[in-house]
């Protein structure tokens, strides 16, 4: 049994290590800035391969004192010629707590990493409250990335709700 626990722990480490250290550091910093002076434990929810939202998708539980405080999603969306990585923190009721862009690689469209723009998603719970151009104002000159991020957040939100309905989370 102990061995199994050890394996599980190593498993978590292994999966987290998929992300470049720079991105991980940034992610941890953001999490720590929300739960100041608390020890936040990240626990990946393992999804079977065909159930996972996309190849670049990760879903974690965030625990403080072993109590679930939020869900953390790492996802990837497309800019004009490249992909960017970003994270969403969901409250337990699956409303969005915060979104941050972790790595943006292209020269155009980087405006979407702007905090004030991303704030528009906060507290939203359903994909239909995130209509691009209506609920979420676009950014001139960064339309492709803004639209792409919005679509991905909508997709992930729907997906999490489905998981919740099925009792998987």
């Amino acid at each position: 049994m102990k061995k199994l626990a050890l394996l599980v722990v190593i498993g978590f480490l292994g999966i987290s290590a998929d992300l470049p250290t720079g991105i991980q550091k940034k992610m941890n910093k953001i999490i720590q800035s929300i739960w100041v002076n608390e020890v936040v434990k990240k626990e990946q929810i393992n999804l079977t391969k065909q159930d996972v939202y996309s190849n670049d998708f990760q879903l974690h539980k965030l625990l403080v004192n072993n109590k679930l405080v939020a869900y953390l999603v790492i996802s990837r969306a497309k800019s004009r010629v490249d992909f960017f990585d970003y994270m969403i923190i969901y409250n337990i009721d699956l409303s969005i707590k915060t979104i941050e862009v972790l790595a943006y690689r292209e020269d155009y469209g980087g405006e979407i990493a702007n905090k004030r723009w991303l704030k528009q998603f906060e507290a939203k719970k359903n994909a239909n409250e995130m209509k691009f151009g209506n609920d979420i104002q676009g950014i001139s000159g960064a339309t492709i990335s803004a639209r792409s991020l919005t679509a991905d957040v909508q997709g992930v939100t729907n997906y999490l709700q489905q998981l919740k309905t099925k009792g998987a989370i």
Partner: protein, 406 residues
């Protein structure tokens, strides 16, 4: 054995139910995304292919004369991007204009100097000059009207592109995007055509073909955009540089007269552009102001017998409203818009040269943009144009067109 069977069946059932959960969402397959991914597998994600095209029908009306309509595959541009690694990508745009000329619009290499960080990129190659709105974002789905605003044609000769190199990046904490490049400049004189910048076409003929550019002195191009308020983008652009002339070729240092002649064949261009774009729900607005100075214009005009202004200006303001905004579950947009423009390539003349009022133009455009998808639109508009020489009569033009972008 039975137990194993039951367990197997259980596993299969669970798997099936979970499979239904998986990514049933179609939103991620929105046209803009799906079209950009040519092939789904990871290897091919390195290549991006795209295109934009504009096909127009223009019909002029005059009170005194008849005009034929004009049908035109105005431009068809192929976009090819290649991602070498997470920090390096190449972007190219090849344009077929009026179906005859084949031209490169962009071809540059972009390198992210700090990994996973947008602060600092290095770019080199053939790139568009960030001046105003349209020159940098010239795809037909990004603007209303069949044709690009005249200000962005007559004052900024869209697509104005130059060979050069420089830095760009986003400072998201400050909500700022910056660009700073050293670039080649317009050609103002060549041995075949003489002086090629004038009041009628502005800088248009001075855009150098991509091959074998002349360069004697580089210019500086920069732009700063502020995007700290959702829906709003404000930009300030600057350009400073001398034009290029073939008369400097093989010029002996001792040839004082030759140098004086060559010096009369160039302009020193200083330009400032201000632009604003604002979207709020179904409402959109944008405006632009361009101010170009051509130092040495008196000498240049005297030498070349041309008539370019010492100062050229242009501005426009546009309002639009999406009347389909209240229809739920549609990505279609029907934008009703109006735009007022003014430009003058002879705004100020130097050395007592007489201003030609023909080059001072007021233009009103009213029309519809029907975006049936984020990447495809039908457009129709009606234009009233008048220069300051014609006292009462407007030139009227009706335009129909399609624009696509993927």
């Amino acid at each position: 054995m039975k137990k194993i069977l039951v367990i197997l069946i259980l596993i299969v059932t669970v798997k099936l139910t979970l499979a239904q959960v998986k990514k049933a969402d179609t939103l991620t397959n929105a046209p803009m995304n799906a079209a950009q991914k040519i092939v789904e597998d990871n290897e091919s994600n390195k290549v991006t292919i795209g295109a934009y095209a504009q096909i127009d029908y223009n019909q002029q009306f005059n009170d005194s004369s008849q005009s034929n309509g004009n049908l035109d595959v105005h431009r068809m541009v192929l976009f090819v991007g290649y991602k070498f690694n997470n920090r390096t990508h190449f972007v190219s745009e090849m344009e077929m204009e009026h179906h005859v000329e084949l031209e490169l619009e962009q071809a540059f290499l972009n390198y992210q100097l700090l990994q996973n960080n947008q602060y600092l990129n290095f770019r080199a190659g053939l790139m568009v000059i960030p001046m105003g709105i349209i020159n940098e974002y010239h795809e037909p789905l990004t603007f209303n009207g069949v044709e690009r605003p005249m200000v962005d044609t007559k004052i900024v000769p869209t697509t104005w592109r130059e060979l050069g190199a420089g830095f760009l990046g986003n400072m998201n904490k400050l909500s700022l995007r910056y660009q700073l490049y050293i670039v080649n400049g317009f050609q103002s004189y060549n041995n075949d055509d003489g002086g090629i910048l004038n009041g009628s076409l502005g800088y248009k003929k001075g855009r150098q073909e991509v091959g074998e550019n002349t360069i004697s002195s580089p210019g500086i191009s920069s732009k700063i955009d502020f995007y700290g308020v959702p829906g709003l983008k404000l930009g300030i652009s600057g350009y400073y540089g001398k034009t290029q002339s073939t008369l400097y070729d093989n010029l002996l240092n001792s040839d004082v007269d030759g140098k004086a002649t060559a010096d009369s064949s160039i302009l020193l261009i200083g330009a400032v552009g201000l632009d604003a774009r604002y979207n709020y729900k179904n409402f959109e607005a944008r405006g632009e102001l361009l101010y170009f100075t051509n130092s040495n214009s008196f000498q240049y005009n005297k030498f070349t017998q041309n008539d370019i202004g010492e100062v050229m200006i242009g501005y426009y303001a546009e309002l639009g409203y999406n009347v389909l905004g209240f229809v739920k579950n549609t990505e279609e947009k029907l934008i009703v818009f109006g735009r007022y423009e003014f430009y003058d390539t002879n705004f100020k003349m130097s050395g007592g040269l007489i201003k030609n009022d023909l080059y001072a133009v007021n233009l009103l455009t009213m029309g519809l943009t029907y975006k049936v998808s984020t990447g495809a639109a039908f457009k129709a508009d009606y234009q009233l144009m008048r220069n300051q020489l014609s006292t009462n009569s407007f030139t009227k033009q009706f335009n129909l067109g399609i624009g696509i972008w993927f």
